[in-house]
Symmetry: C2
Subunit: 258 residues, 2 copies
Amino acid sequence: MNSERPLILVTNDDGITAPGIRALIEVMNEIGDVYVVAPDSPQSAMGHAITINNTLYCDKIIIDADAPQKEFSCSGTPVDCVKIATHEILTRKPDLCVSGINHGSNSAINVIYSGTMSAAVEAGIEGIPAIGFSLLDFSMNANFEPTKPFIKRIVANVLQNGLPKGVVLNVNFPKLEEDQIKGMKICRQANAHWEEEFDKRTNPMGRDYYWLSGKFVNSDKGEDTDEWALANGYVSIVPTQFDLTAHHYIQELNSWEL
Amino acid sequence: MNSERPLILVTNDDGITAPGIRALIEVMNEIGDVYVVAPDSPQSAMGHAITINNTLYCDKIIIDADAPQKEFSCSGTPVDCVKIATHEILTRKPDLCVSGINHGSNSAINVIYSGTMSAAVEAGIEGIPAIGFSLLDFSMNANFEPTKPFIKRIVANVLQNGLPKGVVLNVNFPKLEEDQIKGMKICRQANAHWEEEFDKRTNPMGRDYYWLSGKFVNSDKGEDTDEWALANGYVSIVPTQFDLTAHHYIQELNSWEL
């Protein structure tokens, strides 16, 4: 590999063979030397889970014999993939970690459930500039082509400007053709939530069980949110942090009689 | 149940039979009407994972026949427990959700991997005042007695003052006797991280596998952090939020050439 090209770690949560990560690998091969370390099976909604009570397998595999990237399939979560990549597979700290392209939205509160974004956050914790990419299309046949020029511009900016310690980017793409996308917007996370619905069924043994489902509800009318940008034809970029301290509430808590 | 007493949801990530949650249930029974909905097996380090590709079981069980609480054992993650409790089990929104007492620390960056805190965060997302409690002792024989008077004071304050939308509390206890604890401190999350180490082994079939382990490194010298408080004999209380937007970086990002 050419050492003057950036070293790029690619991961995701839909699994190493998902079309979204294959599209991201293709774009990254144009930009740098690519290592892929991704889950061997779908890991959506795994949040920041890590594997501490089970063994981890991580095997070198070849999915596309004609392509230059090196690939490793891992039995763990997206966060496990980042940890094992940086500590066991890569010989130096990567210049960038990209996660995705996720099949489905990671805007608003979805960021907190997202394996895609948790992988990017883990890279951020390790001091690696990191970006999570998601397309608002759950389909396995989703069209990732329109996202590619935007990904290139965002990655070029991150490689040039860097990202401050403690900040990673959460990028979501609307499900639109390239010429329908109006541009990119820097946003805040919309104040939205899921209204859960449980589908209760009975198994053949007569025991009740549930399927989790739900409805996404956005009650945030702000035009500076990711939800607004996506609904209005823009790519949303939310700078995302992992200092979870509610600094604004420290002063008030100090007035409590504890 | 007496409807004038607060309705309290108790959960954890170590599993419904763990000594930590049994101690927390005991304290909550003195304060309100208690429902326990907790994982049927250990779910440590599950972060904010939810179960979307698998069935969920949730069964009423009796662990302590002489105690007043109602208990449900759930096959899912801590976040699943909160969702199923609020949408399928409880007949009204609880006045409080407490999670723990965790066997082991959830201070600093541990908050992001923690099933205990993710359960509290999920309750917060649903608009329920919520607190995660953790003791800096991984042992199954950990002594939870010293934490009880502090838990009562914190819960009394939360029930009286409420918590603002978007804020939950992350409470950690040092491993000390009650008379050795100097008091409680409102803190920020320390800027600490894990230095991963992977223990590589070979299984009987000759295939390599890994165990994730690591060393906790605190590089944050601030005396306003949870790590400082715990190391100096205080209970740490960190107000914790789930708006992950790095608001301070939005202005800078807007100057990028995207």
